[in-house]
């Protein structure tokens, strides 16, 4: 029996070069190392994306856990090559966030007040303080966008995905993605108007 389980569970070094699909297949066969690797590869992105969309860490954690849970549950029936695993996870995350935002809107929660994250214990150098102010201002501005525009802008400009990838995630055409990001950026510019100096964005100093 020990021989059998060893044959099914090559050590982590052997499987670290495998594709996401192959790792998911190994996980479905009971390989815990494959689950660890998949988590290491994708949890950060899923969580970061959810945090940008929701502006709330606790909610983003719940969404990220739920998205990964759906991945584990899909493992047994996963079809290789049908959808890229990262695209699939983004899509699940977008939908979970949309559901949360709708529920939140129904509750008429003061979304704007929830946006600012509590400061954590990072070294408060002047540069770090400025960086955090910028991130917070951007997050506050993102929160004013309609859901679809926010999703498209974050995927394009923060996660750095291509328009076809975003189209696959949002299940719309590429032209719709271009339109969403363009309108989203215009709305962001308007929301941030007047904060340029406060955010240290002087002419010729775009760092």
């Amino acid at each position: 029996m020990p021989r059998d389980s060893a044959a099914l569970t090559p050590d982590a070094q052997d499987i670290s070069g495998l594709s996401d699909d192959a790792l998911l297949l190994l996980y479905a066969r009971g390989d815990a190392d494959a689950a660890r690797l998949l988590t290491a590869r994708h949890l950060g992105r899923v969580y970061g994306f959810a945090a940008r969309l929701l502006g709330d860490r606790a909610e983003a954690e719940d969404v990220a856990q739920e998205a990964m849970l759906r991945l584990w549950r899909a493992a047994a029936t996963w079809r290789s090559g049908e959808a890229q695993l990262s695209t699939w996870l983004y899509r699940v995350t977008v939908n979970l966030c949309t559901d949360r935002q709708r529920a939140r809107n129904r509750r008429r929660a003061e979304a704007l007040d929830e946006v600012a994250e509590p400061a954590d214990d990072r070294a408060d150098t002047e540069a770090a303080l400025m960086a955090r102010q910028r991130v917070d201002a951007l997050q506050a501005a993102l929160a004013t966008l309609p859901d679809r525009q926010r999703q498209a802008v974050v995927l394009r400009h923060i996660d750095g995905l291509s328009n076809p990838e975003i189209a696959a995630i949002l299940e719309v055409g590429v032209e719709a993605v271009e339109s969403l990001t363009a309108r989203g950026k215009r709305a962001l510019t308007a929301a941030l108007a007047g904060q340029k100096a406060a955010l240290g964005l002087q002419e010729g100093d775009l760092r």
Partner: protein
């Protein structure tokens, strides 16, 4: 006036400071993975108990040896039962003369005597 470049600068700042998942979240996710695994490693099916033939084969040194023994037994039984002509001829050729050796010289007298 906020420009596209300003916005790009803000995006760059946000990219440089990604929200990182906590260790607690990673643990929760891995606990889910263990709970949801379609075929958990710990619950792997045990190999079934070997059957009678397999165990008998193991006694005689493997299934091949057992098969050989069965074949030899059947062949011996068939030769003894059917007495094929070829076999008698072969025996006659190989053993042209037969000699009788009396191991118990006095036994004939005992056998002949009627009760």
């Amino acid at each position: 006036m906020m420009t596209d470049d300003d916005l790009d600068s803000l995006f760059a700042t946000a990219r440089a400071a990604p929200a990182l998942p906590s260790a607690a979240l990673s643990s929760r996710v891995l606990a889910d993975a263990a709970a949801e695994c379609p075929r958990p490693a710990l619950a792997m099916p045990r190999p079934s108990r070997p059957g009678v033939l397999a165990r008998l084969g193991a006694v005689f040194g493997g299934g091949g040896a057992l098969a050989g023994m069965v074949t030899a037994t059947l062949a011996g039984f068939w030769i003894g039962f059917a007495q094929p002509v070829d076999f008698s001829l072969t025996a006659a050729l190989l053993i042209p003369e037969t000699e009788q050796i009396d191991l118990m010289p006095g036994i004939d007298a005992l056998l002949d005597e009627a009760p």
